[in-house]
């Protein structure tokens, strides 16, 4: 269990703002901090990592105190059991991929863990390359692996995918989900993409002007009418094609394009490029052993 309570005056583009939040995260949960830019999402994440000091606050991780401003106690970022992935990767340009990871592991060189991370993030072929020669998606994979070298309990991701294009995003989301489950991490992701959030998170904090205004499951926040559907996917509408009484939607889900028949009424507001939720009630799915 992670308990956080932070207060800090911020100087943003729209003048002064008070960041004032209180929340708790379950161990092993995947939480997304969602909000407009300038709402204080990144600041919040950096406070958890200890990179920014709040004016007032408390933070407790599994009964261990990380922050207690009334008693003037603040655990240094070095001693926090967190792994951080930055929006612009922050790889050390003077080191190769492998050196970046080895630097993180330091004297406690756990080789098998390092190799495991390299294989999960598929960095084997890139290990001797310098970051400047890698694509954005490759760099972010290195950053993800590097953040996990020290076996953190908490993984903090600051909009790690926002600079990447759509196809690479999906792949990286899968990597993140895989390590989240494999290493039993408590993960906090800053994101403003509903599709991404519904795919990845089990808990969403909505941050508006420095305060948490909503806190719920992603589907409850992003779908207006609650569905009892058992299968849910998010995707992007590629084409809306009216065919007499019905309309055929082509939707890209992951890497698959599916065609869905809808009534004209239902799709009046939907156009190509929209992010949509596709749900089905599960009374007769086909199940096949593979």
């Amino acid at each position: 269990m992670i308990l956080c309570k932070f207060q800090k005056k911020l100087k943003g583009a729209s003048g002064e703002m008070l960041l004032d939040v209180k929340f708790s995260l379950k161990k092993g949960s995947f939480t997304v901090i969602y909000g407009e830019s300038g709402a204080g999402k990144t600041t919040l994440l950096r406070m958890m990592a200890g990179l920014i000091s709040p004016d007032k606050g408390n933070m407790k991780v599994d009964e261990k105190v990380w922050l207690d401003t009334p008693r003037k106690f603040e655990l240094e970022p070095q001693k926090r059991n967190t792994g951080m992935v930055f929006q612009d990767y922050a790889l050390f340009p003077n080191m190769t991929v492998e050196e970046n990871l080895k630097f993180a592991s330091g004297s406690k060189n756990n080789k098998s863990h390092l190799e495991e991370l390299i294989s999960i993030t598929q960095l084997n072929a890139l290990r001797n390359r310098k970051p400047s020669t890698l694509s954005g998606g490759q760099q972010q994979r290195v950053a993800l692996a590097r953040a996990l070298v020290r076996k953190p309990g908490i993984l903090l991701l600051d909009e790690p995918l926002s600079a990447l294009d759509h196809s690479i995003r999906g792949k990286l989301q899968d990597y993140i989900l895989r390590v989240h489950k494999k290493f039993n991490l408590t993960t906090v992701l800053v994101s403003h993409e509903p599709g991404e959030i519904i795919k990845m998170a089990d808990h969403v904090l909505v941050l508006e002007n420095g305060t948490i205004t909503k806190e719920d499951k992603p589907t409850a926040i992003f779908t207006k009418n609650k569905l009892s559907g058992k299968f849910q996917f998010t995707g992007e509408v590629l084409e809306v094609k009216p065919e007499g009484v019905v309309t055929i939607l082509s939707i890209l889900i992951g890497r698959n394009v599916i065609k869905v028949i809808c009534m004209e009424e239902e799709v009046k507001t939907i156009k190509a490029g929209d992010q949509v939720l596709v749900a089905s009630k599960a009374f007769n799915p086909v199940v096949q052993k593979i």
Partner: protein, 221 residues
């Protein structure tokens, strides 16, 4: 050809650059990351030699280093070091005089590095010192090189400060720039010409080397 003044100039430039590397890096690091309110004052003091006439700086150093000055008196009495009209004094004066040429490029090198690099290193459990030596310093190599070359070249070209604090003692404080002035005054143009040509070629060669290295980035990355 008299090699003495040239060798002395090179010795002075090498020693000054060496001490400035040791002094300049921590100073630049502090200036780049400090949040203290006296930072503008510190920056102004360090940058003074950029605009102050060398004679003014030399004059004050002479007052301070001379045996009647407090500092010079103390150094002479306690440590037995004579700064005025000595080679040691020249090195100290050069270090002060060239300080901004070393500190400014390194400071801007540090400031231009993304903050994320430091933060990433901290969040990976690395101390400030490890972060400094393994992450920050290796990534500002070009700034370091620029600082070193600028101070080296600046020390070679030093004249006013040297004249004020060092005088013109052969083998001790008679560096090339002073020797040239001396020869010209003695209407010894041929000798002045030889020395000047050597300095001219040397300075060009140093700068050419820097630009070659900077253009062929592979060398540094």
């Amino acid at each position: 050809m008299e090699w003495g003044p040239l060798l002395l100039t090179l010795k002075l430039a090498i020693l000054s650059t060496f001490f400035l590397v040791i002094l300049g890096i921590p100073l630049a690091y502090w200036l780049a990351y400090t949040k203290t309110k006296i930072k503008p004052v510190a920056e102004a003091v360090i940058s003074m030699p950029l605009i102050l006439p060398p004679t003014v700086l030399g004059f004050y150093l002479l007052l301070a280093f001379g045996n009647s000055g407090f500092l010079g008196n103390w150094l002479n009495e306690v440590l037995g070091i004579q700064l005025a009209f000595s080679f040691t004094g020249l090195v100290v004066a050069s270090v002060i005089y060239s300080l901004p040429f070393m500190v400014q490029p390194i400071q801007s090198g540090f400031s231009n590095l993304p903050d994320n690099l430091r933060e990433a290193s901290y969040s990976l459990g690395k101390s400030k010192f490890t972060t400094f030596s393994k992450v920050l310093l290796p990534n500002i190599k070009t700034s370091l090189l620029t600082g070193m070359v600028l101070t080296f070249a600046h020390t070679i070209g030093e004249f006013g400060v040297v004249l004020m604090i060092g005088g013109n003692i052969p083998g001790e404080t008679r560096v090339a720039s002073i020797a040239i002035y001396d020869e010209v005054e003695a209407l010894n143009y041929a000798s002045a010409n030889r020395l000047s040509l050597v300095l001219f070629v040397l300075c060009f060669a140093i700068l050419l080397l820097v630009y070659l290295i900077n253009n062929g980035k592979r060398f540094w990355r």
